[in-house]
């Protein structure tokens, strides 16, 4: 089988959040457009533009270098990751465009396999692949630009949770550490396969179930890690307590983190979150997993206490490793407290 050359792909390849905020803040302000409901100053998962009173379109794009060697699997994961931003806004996928960087001199069958994996996920999402753009480049990168729709009154913003809300996470954490370890031959095949299955699972199923409930806020866990995305969910007016022992994680990732098979991205996330998190007797490996950049991670949903158990049960019945991982509080001194419980 053709193999890709991986060097720290997936969301570990993302630019650090700190650097990015710094650049974005310096850009000149644009003219106000009242139909732009979610733009980049909101630090949300995708842009939302209102067309009519009941239809807004959701736009996002995501692409990155390979984090697994099998091109077909890489295509599936990259597509699932890009499609996820639509689900994080509570939207429905409509069209997708391929984004491709590929060395023209190498085996084009590899590219074919990547795109086949991507197409399969777009179809599974109920969308249609409508075109794309390809560049001859030294390294392989692949992803999608996706457009979906959402009812403007039912957008899942990432920072509109309320005090008392329960936080539900729908996928296990630790895929960044596992892929990194696998790249240097330190993770076994079963471990990698588990992580791959998680990464290529669409967040569509979690999103569909969540729409039956009153979701206050939602984001997907990707490059900035669980704590980086959680911090953005808290904004500057809320705090939360996280229950470290409740968090769904790949057990293998804990062992690998204890061997310090950790990424640069994870450390960048730690620097980004900085003093906005305090850990109470949380083991080192768990800290690392909470900062680990996730490729195609799960949804993090904020839902009222009274609905939390019912939503959780439904997610679990659908086969997801979901769990209630914390709760939102009124603003305290620190945005996030992680307790070892």
């Amino acid at each position: 089988m053709e193999k890709l050359y991986c060097k720290g792909g997936g969301c570990t390849a993302k630019l650090g959040a700190g650097i990015l905020s710094h650049i974005l803040e310096r850009l000149p302000k644009q003219n106000f457009d009242e139909n732009l409901m979610v733009g980049f100053d909101a630090k949300d998962d995708a842009a939302v533009y209102k067309l009519t009173d009941d239809i807004a379109f959701v736009q996002t794009l995501d692409f990155f270098p390979p984090m697994v060697e099998d091109p077909y699997t890489f295509g599936q994961i990259a597509a699932a990751n890009a499609l996820s931003d639509i689900y994080a806004m509570g939207g429905e996928v409509k069209t997708a465009l391929n984004i491709v960087c590929f060395p023209q001199s190498s085996d084009l069958n590899i590219l074919g396999e990547i795109m086949r994996g991507g197409l399969e996920k777009v179809k599974e999402a109920g969308g249609v692949l409508a075109g794309g753009h390809s560049i001859d480049d030294t390294d392989v990168k692949y992803g999608l630009s996706v457009t979906g729709i959402v009812n403007p009154n039912k957008i899942y913003s990432n920072n509109t949770g309320k005090a008392g809300d329960r936080l539900i996470l729908t996928k296990r954490l630790g895929v960044g550490i596992i892929c990194t370890a696998a790249r240097i031959g330190e993770a076994d095949e079963d471990t990698l396969n588990e992580a791959v299955d998680s990464m290529r699972t669409l967040n569509k199923y979690a999103c569909d179930i969540s729409k039956k409930y009153d979701i206050h806020a939602c984001t997907d866990i990707t490059g900035f890690g669980f704590l980086g995305h959680l911090m953005e969910m808290m904004g500057d007016d809320k705090s939360c307590e996280v229950y470290a022992k409740q968090i769904p994680v790949f057990e293998a990732a804990k062992a690998l983190a204890d061997e310090f098979l950790i990424t640069a991205g994870g450390q960048r996330n730690r620097n980004y979150v900085g003093e906005n998190v305090i850990f109470e007797d949380v083991p080192f490996a768990m800290e690392e997993i909470l900062f680990d950049p996730q490729t195609s991670g799960g949804l993090l949903l904020a839902v009222g206490k009274e609905e939390a158990d019912a939503l959780l049960n439904e997610l679990k019945e659908a086969g997801m490793p979901a769990a209630i991982v914390g709760e939102i509080r009124e603003r305290e001194n620190t945005a996030i407290k992680v307790a070892d419980k």
Partner: protein, 205 residues
Amino acid sequence: MIKVNAIGDACPIPVVKTKNAIRELGGSGVVEVSVDNEIAVQNLLKMAKQKEYEAAFEKKSNTEYIVTINVNGGEVSDTKPVTKATVKSDEIKLKETIVVIDSDKMGDGDEEFSKTLLKGFIYALSSQDIPPAKILFYNTGVRLTTEGSASIEDLKVLEKAGAKIYSCGACLNNYGLTEKLSVGEVTNMYDIVSYLMEADLVIRP
């Protein structure tokens, strides 16, 4: 002592190479790791902290850092103390400290006395354990980085310890000193502003 070259290696390779070197020591001793970025330094220090090894780092330049890890009580390093910083567990993030010298005098007093004070300041700065990331010279401050300055030697010590020394080009020109720069590099107002904007701490004596 075992030296590990991890320049050009992406995380977690520097940590993996270091762990192998520590295993190779087979007991106490010192491992010295070269890496090319600050994040790798932080990941190495994190490992050392977890393993309860003493660790120190030295910034040679923006693309070269030396991390020295002392496994169970060997001599930490034979490098000069000027360039060595022992890191406390909660101090992993490196601070960007900038010293601004905007005059050839320190404070507002007798001229000769004020110049002597500034010379003393630069000398004391060169004896600190952790050098500032950058020292910016502007206006008559550029007299300190040019021929005839009594602080050239101290500034060279600072430069060797990793401090970047920049003199404002327009200022050198204004005082006719452009050809006489003796230490550091020339910079412009745009860069001065962005350095200051990005600093964690700005010190103006």
